[in-house]
């Protein structure tokens, strides 16, 4: 069975400092992994996706994630947080065969001025 676990329900950083949002996955197959972001009262937007082409994936708004098979991790990072990054972030894996998405419980990112 496939699953993702987001290790922090809430992360708080100061503006200009690095962001790290942690995600571990479980999969019998080589997984397709995504990070989505949801700003308050908005729909979900794709930040980046991993589909086995390259282990370091760059996304929108300066975010990137590294796929580490040995650690079964897919952590999301950004070198310098901006106030507009405050949102909820979801780590997601595609359910093989069925094609729907399995979502983590989400990590709420707060950015302090």
């Amino acid at each position: 069975a496939q699953s993702v676990t987001q290790l922090d329900s809430h992360v708080s950083v100061s503006e200009g400092t690095p962001v790290l949002l942690r995600c571990n996955y479980s999969s019998s197959y080589s997984p397709s992994l995504f990070w989505y972001v949801q700003h308050p009262n908005k729909g979900l937007q794709l930040l980046l996706k991993y589909t086995s082409a390259a282990t370091l994936v760059k996304g929108i708004n300066g975010f990137e994630a590294e796929f580490k098979k040995s650690e079964t991790s897919f952590h999301l990072t950004k070198p310098s947080a901006h106030m507009s990054d405050a949102a909820e972030y979801f780590c997601v894996v595609i359910k093989r065969g069925r094609g729907d998405l399995i979502f983590g419980k989400g990590t709420k990112l707060s950015v302090k001025p």
Binding site: S32, G43, Q45, L46, K49, T51, R98, F103, G104, K105
Partner: protein, 113 residues
């Protein structure tokens, strides 16, 4: 620009009413999905469809049905709304290949009184 639209952003209904939530995509996607989002639970799949007239149960189909008469439109039906169906409902679509990301609508926040 990719577009998934949902018929209402906010909806208030009474217990026992029949409720229709509509979703339309303009990307010629084969796959369409309905999720509900609840705090602390992330997103959970209700129903999905791979093609016109096709429907498959997701993880929490009880109390819901769906209709897909046209490729671009996927409707979620609550036959007899109950208070435990108060939630955010999100529609998504994707191309047929299972590793493709899904595109989400803005969501419908349904309150059942």
């Amino acid at each position: 620009d990719v577009k998934v639209t949902q018929s209402s952003r906010y909806l208030v209904k009474r217990t026992g009413e029949k409720v229709f939530l509509e979703c339309v995509q303009d990307m010629d996607h084969e796959n369409m999905f309905w999720y509900r989002q609840d705090p602390g639970l992330g997103l959970r799949l209700i129903y999905f469809s791979y093609d016109v007239k096709m429907k498959e149960k997701g993880d929490i189909p009880e109390g819901y049905s769906v209709s897909r008469e046209k490729k671009e439109r996927f409707s979620l039906i609550l036959e007899s709304a109950s208070t435990n169906q108060t939630s955010m409902y999100l529609c998504a679509s994707s191309f047929r290949k299972s590793y493709n990301e899904q595109f989400f609508g803005p969501g419908t926040r349904l309150t059942v009184l």
